[in-house]
């Protein structure tokens, strides 16, 4: 507690401070589960909610009191019941919900810009301004070139090849972002949340400074999100990140994308679709670390077929700019020349620098993520954090869930733990991926005996278009309980298909339940309810796999 309390800041009672530290240190003891949270890409969704049932009941009582220390109503006066720093998905959701519970809420956010920095951001946050939304709009635009290709097999012919005008796209995209940031502002206003533009910084456990002005609050919520993280190599100043890639003044002619994660793959698809030459450089042998192995193989095969060149096991060492303005990327394996752009999609970091966190005693992980307990409470009782700033599962709907749970816990008198089980997610690569639950590798590790059902087929549309598009689907089933542990899809419409499947997986449904569902014909999704015979059975004890014969007969019957 190093911060010098301002006059308005309430002095902490020794007892409450001690209690807070005690409970927090207890949380920290449970660090073996922590790596799940602090991993670079949280799509390796933890099978169980982290920190589950670790907190003593006393702590809960405190929290449910929701009025400050130790369950008793804190008599002090604050400007606000809640001050939220950062108006992205998590912050806006938490603020709105808190306000509906009757709390007096303020939220601060940096001025709008499509490119984020220490001094620019915008209401709506990463998702709306620099992530999900603009990315998907660009995906929509880029997908058309594939659709034009497809249409030829269906009888459509073009006098001239369709041309793409980058500036139209970017202008329309930015108009939409402006509209959305306006909508978010209205949403806040309509729920009675005070919006303050400026950079918020924590002064003490109950005080936030926004550009020199101090605001006191019973609770502070940090939801400042994350930002792209570029490695420190020579010439890195010539590289762009995903913020910039979403708002380039002109279309790249030839682009190097460094990284094998979902952001790299999504942009590879976008630029390929818009007819740039795309090279993807990844350090590993395969893309999408943490995803199901078969999906990793399948998606890179399909993307290669669409013209993306993958450079595997190449670590970038330097960027060189030649006299003609073109860029070269030097890696451990050699140098590739002639790039108009080099983009780094090498991970994101929590925006926790210069927030005053360390000074008030909010503990951070090594990568800057705010450490929180299962209720999103930091090591300081009155300070909470949700979303990418905590680097748990960095997805918009998860930030929404965390924000909603926070508001319920603190202002709704209903202590609520976000549930990280069976959180579905999508990669909007081309073709896209949808997944929910465990990967095959995780399932084997956790359950030992699992049955794997796969389908790899040419969708109806591709039979006419003549394009080499395929769809891959995989169900992972617990051999003992028949429960569906994970579903992984790659192919057209996968993100839309997986949502309903996620309800079923979350509800703990079995393979028999899937089989009893009648298909919708003709769809791709019907394949998921007509997978009769396991592709393979994985058993800890190999002899138990001999039961296979019986099932083979049965599945032959069913197929």
């Amino acid at each position: 507690m190093a911060a010098a309390p301002s006059l308005r800041a309430p002095p902490l009672t020794l007892a409450s401070t001690a209690a807070a530290l005690r409970t927090f240190s207890r949380t920290l003891v449970l660090l073996p589960q922590k790596p799940l949270f602090t991993s670079s890409r949280a799509l390796r969704s933890p099978p169980l909610p982290p920190f589950r049932s670790n907190l003593p009941a006393r702590r809960l009582a405190t929290r449910a009191g929701a009025n400050g220390g130790n369950g008793s109503v804190d008599p002090r006066q604050f400007d606000f019941d809640l001050f939220t720093i950062g108006a992205g998905s998590g912050g806006v959701r938490a603020s709105r919900f808190a306000a509906t519970y009757g709390a007096k809420v303020a939220i601060c956010e940096l001025p709008f810009s499509t490119i984020s920095s220490e001094s620019a951001g915008g209401v709506g946050g990463t998702c709306v301004l620099r992530g999900c939304v603009p990315k998907k709009l660009l995906v929509y635009s880029s997908k058309y070139s594939h659709e034009f290709e497809e249409s030829r097999g269906f009888g459509w012919t073009y006098e001239a090849d369709p041309m793409h005008d980058w500036s139209t796209l970017i202008a329309n995209k930015n108009a939409e972002l402006q509209r959305l940031t306006g909508i978010y502002k209205n949403i806040l206003q309509n729920s009675g949340v005070t919006l303050i533009e400026g950079r918020g910084k924590i002064v003490d456990p109950h005080t936030v400074d926004v550009d020199g002005k101090h605001y006191t609050a019973r609770h502070i919520l940090i939801s400042v999100g994350g930002r792209p993280n570029l490695p420190d190599i020579p010439g890195i100043e010539h590289a762009i990140d995903s913020d910039a890639a979403l708002d380039l003044p002109s279309k790249p002619e030839k682009i190097a994308i460094v990284g094998g994660g979902y952001i790299a793959l999504e942009f590879a698809g976008i630029f390929t679709g818009l007819k740039s030459e795309v090279h993807v450089f990844i350090r590993q042998k395969k893309v999408l670390r943490g995803f199901d192995e078969e999906i990793r193989n399948f998606v890179s095969e399909q993307m290669s077929l669409r013209g993306i060149e993958f450079h595997t096991e190449e670590t970038p060492q330097a960027i060189l700019k030649s006299s003609d303005g073109l860029l070269s990327l030097r890696t451990n394996k050699g140098t590739v020349d002639g790039f108009s752009h080099i983009m780094f999609a090498t991970g994101r970091r929590p925006n926790t620098k210069n927030l005053g966190l360390e000074d008030v005693g909010v503990e951070l992980a090594k990568n800057g993520a705010i450490l929180v307990d299962e209720y999103s409470q930091t090591s300081v009782d009155s300070i909470w954090a949700v979303g990418d700033a905590t680097n748990r599962l960095n997805l918009t709907p998860v930030a929404l869930m965390e924000g909603g749970a926070f508001a319920k816990t603190v202002f709704g008198k209903e202590p609520t733990v976000p549930d990280y089980r069976a959180v579905p997610s999508a990669v909007f690569s081309q073709p896209p991926i949808g997944q929910v639950g465990l990967t095959e590798e995780q399932a084997i590790q956790e359950y030992g005996d699992v049955d794997i059902y796969t389908a790899n087929f040419r969708p109806l549309k591709a039979t006419l278009s003549g394009l080499p598009d395929r769809v891959f689907m995989k169900l992972i089933v617990c051999a003992n309980t028949n429960k569906v542990l994970g579903v992984h899809l790659c192919g057209e419409d996968s993100p839309e298909i997986i949502q309903g499947i996620a309800i079923a997986v979350k509800a703990g449904l079995t393979k028999a339940d899937f089989d009893s569902t009648v298909g919708i014909h003709p769809t791709s999704a019907e394949e998921l309810v007509t997978m009769r015979s396991p592709t393979r059975k994985i058993r800890k004890d190999p002899s138990s796999a001999m039961e296979k014969n019986v099932d083979e007969v049965r599945s032959a019957v069913d197929k």
Binding site: F154, P397, T517, H521
Partner: protein, 521 residues
């Protein structure tokens, strides 16, 4: 045998529940009959254990699964042709040759027009002249269904099923006669006979009806029509309206009711109607056609409102009837209902104990996946030693109009009819993200109907892009009795349309049990 009790159960989708309820009463009886039949038959020798008439979805599935249980199986089917008649058909049946598959191929083809419109605001510059070559689409479609026809043949031969080409008909309870295309006939005896002859499109009886076509011909027209009149409000009518509009024709759609798609949720029917209009289809609700005449430059279509339109093609999408006329059913004692549908019990057994029927010929729920289910249940019951009833609860289905409609479970009206407690209706009508840029004025609409007492989701429907793909997963959840809380407990996929189904937090309306359904007509 009390045949009235056993077989008087013409099941329609909407009566599925009643059907199942009765099924419980009859289950015991079925088992007894099964055993009885076996002891008698064991003494005789037959050419086959099973002879299947009709190699469509249900027939092929039943043949293959029966063969896998060890039965000696034969199947007969008419020679292949895209347009069906009494003497032509083809392995694969309606679904593969004249239904789901070619229809969806044409829908894909038609969807591109919307994409061409939508892509411009995404930065694409297309020449004003985008040509569509119908002959190429038709050629590629025919090539694909020919390929599928071949695949189905291979599936059958790999399963050890003997195939005969020709028209099958019953001679007696254990004898089938197959008439080949050269007129020669052969007879085969079988312990069990399965009728899976499907159905065919029907024309309404008005003067000049011979000038109209059915969906069979519509899928294989030589020339793409410029002006089309469609009669009918069912799914086939709206699908073809979307197809032809997408391929560039002027489309006029006539139907008797106020809204198309009778039997679907009223609110969703209104959405579909609005979308069809939004895509440029002219709707004529409450209007029938009274006469067709040959005109100088097309078919002159007269309506019962006294209007006249000229069209290149008039499509009758006015229902389908079971293909039972030439099977000699009556002579053998197989009863059919008024529409010609074969009466079956819950195990698909006809009034003759060793003759069975599955699929559209029984006019239960006329969907490919249902015929597959019935075919599999038949095999399990007859050859697998596990009497199995098809389950008609929560069967999802899709209408591939543009944009498509897909539903599972009860619609609001059905839910209210069956409700013991209040019904909670959640609706969401939103501008899909793609339209925010494209500027297309077309909302996606979703709806959940929930039982207020049990929290069970009774029905889900959606009209909008990808609805059929989205609905399949919801169907798994509904089938297993998922609650609204379980929907809410599922995290969304962002950004998707489907995430709306798990983020519907506020009730649109609560309707008291027994109240009259609210219909936005």
């Amino acid at each position: 045998m009390d045949s009235t009790d056993r077989f008087g159960i013409g099941i329609r989708a909407s009566r599925a529940i009643l059907f199942l309820w009765r099924g419980i009463v009859m289950a015991r009886k079925m088992l007894v009959d099964g055993e009885l039949g076996q002891t008698i038959d064991e003494e005789k020798q037959y050419d086959f254990d099973l002879f299947v008439i009709g190699a469509g979805s249900g027939g092929v599935r039943a043949s293959r699964t029966s063969a896998a249980f060890g039965a000696k199986v034969a199947i007969c089917e008419l020679p292949f042709h895209p347009i069906s008649s009494e003497v032509i058909g083809g392995i694969g049946g309606t679904c593969v040759i004249r239904g789901c598959v070619p229809k969806k191929i044409l829908v894909y083809g038609a969807q591109f027009r919307g994409e061409f419109e939508d892509c411009r605001n995404f930065g694409w510059e297309l020449s004003d002249q985008i040509d569509f070559n119908w002959k190429k689409l038709l050629h590629n479609k025919t090539q694909e269904i020919t390929r599928l026809n071949g695949i189905y043949k291979r599936l059958l031969s790999n399963a050890g099923v003997t195939m005969f080409e020709g028209e099958g008909k019953l001679i007696d309870a254990h004898l089938v006669e197959v008439t080949q295309s050269d007129g020669t006939t052969k007879q085969y005896s079988a312990k069990h006979i399965l009728i899976a002859t499907g159905s065919r499109a029907q024309r309404v009886n008005i003067p000049g009806k011979e000038l109209a076509i059915t969906s069979d011909e519509a899928l294989s027209l030589d020339e793409l029509p410029k002006r089309v009149v469609i009669l009918g409000g069912g799914y086939i009518a709206v699908e073809f309206a979307s197809i032809w509009r997408g391929l560039g024709a002027e489309v006029d759609l006539f139907y008797r009711k106020e809204l198309p798609l009778r039997g679907f949720d009223d609110e969703m029917r209104a959405v579909v109607a609005k979308n069809l209009e939004g895509r440029g289809i002219r709707l004529h609700p409450g209007t029938n056609l009274s006469e067709l005449r040959n005109g100088e430059n097309g078919v002159r279509v007269l309506t019962d409102h006294g209007d006249e339109i000229t069209a290149d093609v008039v499509l009758f999408a006015t229902g389908r009837l079971p293909n039972t006329k030439r099977l000699n059913l009556q002579a053998v004692g197989v009863e059919v209902d008024k529409t010609g549908a074969i009466k079956v019990d819950e195990y698909s057994r006809t009034t003759v104990p060793n003759i069975w029927a599955v699929g559209d010929v029984t006019n239960r729920m006329n969907l490919t996946p249902v015929a597959l289910m019935e075919g599999t249940c038949f095999s399990k019951t007859v050859f697998g030693g596990q009497p199995t009833k098809p389950d008609y609860i929560d069967i999802p289905c899709a209408v591939f109009c543009i944009p498509p409609l897909s539903v599972v479970g009860l619609n609001e009206q059905q839910a209210l009819e069956q409700a013991k407690s209040d019904i909670l209706v959640y609706t969401s009508s939103f501008n899909p993200m793609k339209n925010t840029i494209s500027g297309r004025q077309e909302k996606t609409v979703m709806k959940l109907v929930v039982d207020s007492e049990t929290d069970k989701v009774l029905g889900a429907s959606m009209c909008g892009p990808d609805a059929p793909e989205i609905m399949q997963g919801l169907a798994v959840a509904l089938k297993c009795g998922a609650t609204k809380a379980q929907f809410d407990g599922t995290v969304g996929i962002h950004p998707s349309a489907a995430e709306e189904f798990v983020t519907m937090r506020s009730i649109t309306r609560r309707v008291a049990a027994g109240a009259k359904p609210k219909a936005n007509i």
